[in-house]
Subunit: 235 residues, 2 copies
């Protein structure tokens, strides 16, 4: 069955968070006259991402939007790098907003524009609706609407994040395809009956990336990037 809608992971799949966050850190460091390894800072900040959501998935903590988790994780990262005292609260807030201003991968816009002609396209990210809306506007991602954790109030790979996103479109999971560069994201989508499209992003975590270098299941479609995905799905 041809899907009626494509749902997209965003961080890593559509945008290059590592370069974008590192660029914001470099800019901050320059303005404060600090020496910071920006890529190491971005990696450390991002390493706190899954653990912070896990507290919510496990029920230890009630649903809290990703912007707040990012802000908490940023404070911890600034501590780790020994520069927590050098930034004002406003400067920290500004750096936290770097997640709203990330560059798309070179193929993303062209690919999405092609896919949008044939399908409803919407993000199904762990970012809040506010974050993903502002990021989409910054990066020029032509979404038809914004779905995902912000709508579902549940973090992927919790099944509710996918289920409520499909339900918002009044579609069954089988009518929807999940597009992601992460095998665990697609495994959760497939478990619900969604179709799956794997995008190979070998440098999301930089040149030394060790995860998600290849598909771990026979996903319905496997593509090198979003242009290749459009080719393969006939859009």
């Amino acid at each position: 069955m041809t899907p009626q809608a494509l749902l997209f992971d965003v961080f890593g799949t559509c945008v290059d968070w590592r370069s974008g966050v590192a660029a914001a850190v470099t800019q901050m460091a320059k303005s404060k006259n600090l020496k910071v390894d920006s890529l190491a800072f971005a990696d450390s900040w991002r390493a706190r991402y899954q653990p912070s959501m896990e507290a919510i998935r496990s029920g230890q903590r009630s649903y809290t939007e990703l912007d707040i988790l990012h802000r908490e994780n940023l404070a911890a990262t600034l501590e780790e790098f020994g520069i927590a005292d050098t930034l004002t609260s406003e400067e920290t807030d500004k750096l936290n907003r770097s997640w709203e201003q990330l560059p798309p991968w070179p193929d993303t816009i062209t690919g999405l524009i092609r896919l949008k002609k044939k399908f409803i396209i919407a993000p199904c990210s762990n970012g809040s609706m506010a974050l993903i809306t502002r990021l989409g506007k910054f990066a020029g991602l032509p979404w038809d609407c914004v779905l995902g954790a912000g709508l579902a109030r549940a973090y992927k790979p919790d099944r509710q994040a996918y289920q409520r996103s499909c339900a918002a479109l009044q579609l069954e999971p089988a009518q929807v395809m999940m597009v992601a560069a992460h095998n665990d994201d697609l495994a959760a989508a497939r478990a619900l009956g969604m179709a799956t499209l794997f995008i190979v992003r070998k440098t999301e975590y930089g040149p030394g990336q060790t995860t998600d270098l290849k598909p771990e299941q026979a996903w319905d479609i496997i593509a090198d990037d979003l242009r290749d995905a459009a080719d393969k799905i006939g859009a």
Copy 2:
């Protein structure tokens, strides 16, 4: 204060539901070899809109998406016009989807494209997220995300419809402007502290329209259409 986001009523403000629904009724009647006054049919169908939502606003009925209310109201309208037995369930469903395929007013696309350059633009309609997403795609409305009743699970002018839409963007009501061709919609938005922009749509209900012909309060901006709104707000 300049707003950061503009929220738009959709039916009547951005799209011409009466012409669109009547065209679908005409097409249905032709295919079934029936004689139906299509505009009268559209008016009768729409007249059931507010009462059906009122059952939910008052708490008599739990939140039910507008597509289902539309379908119930369509069944009643087909009965009224004495043609309920001539349509199959599939044909009735198809006619119900006419709300997903309504024409924008002539100024809507140009106006929204201009406004989108300066503000987050999102619908805050009583339509479901599914309906408003498909309608936006059909009509080419360049929304940044889809807010409103579908997200809030509450029908305007219930305050939750506006509050939850602003909250989804992590904005205070005072940072958001409601754009509508209906005074009661703006009155509810203003009561929460939102800014207000009235669009004069004198023929939403056809040439004999008697309501919302002019602003009933001193709204922050009053505009003839969405291009005029962009002029007046400096976008």
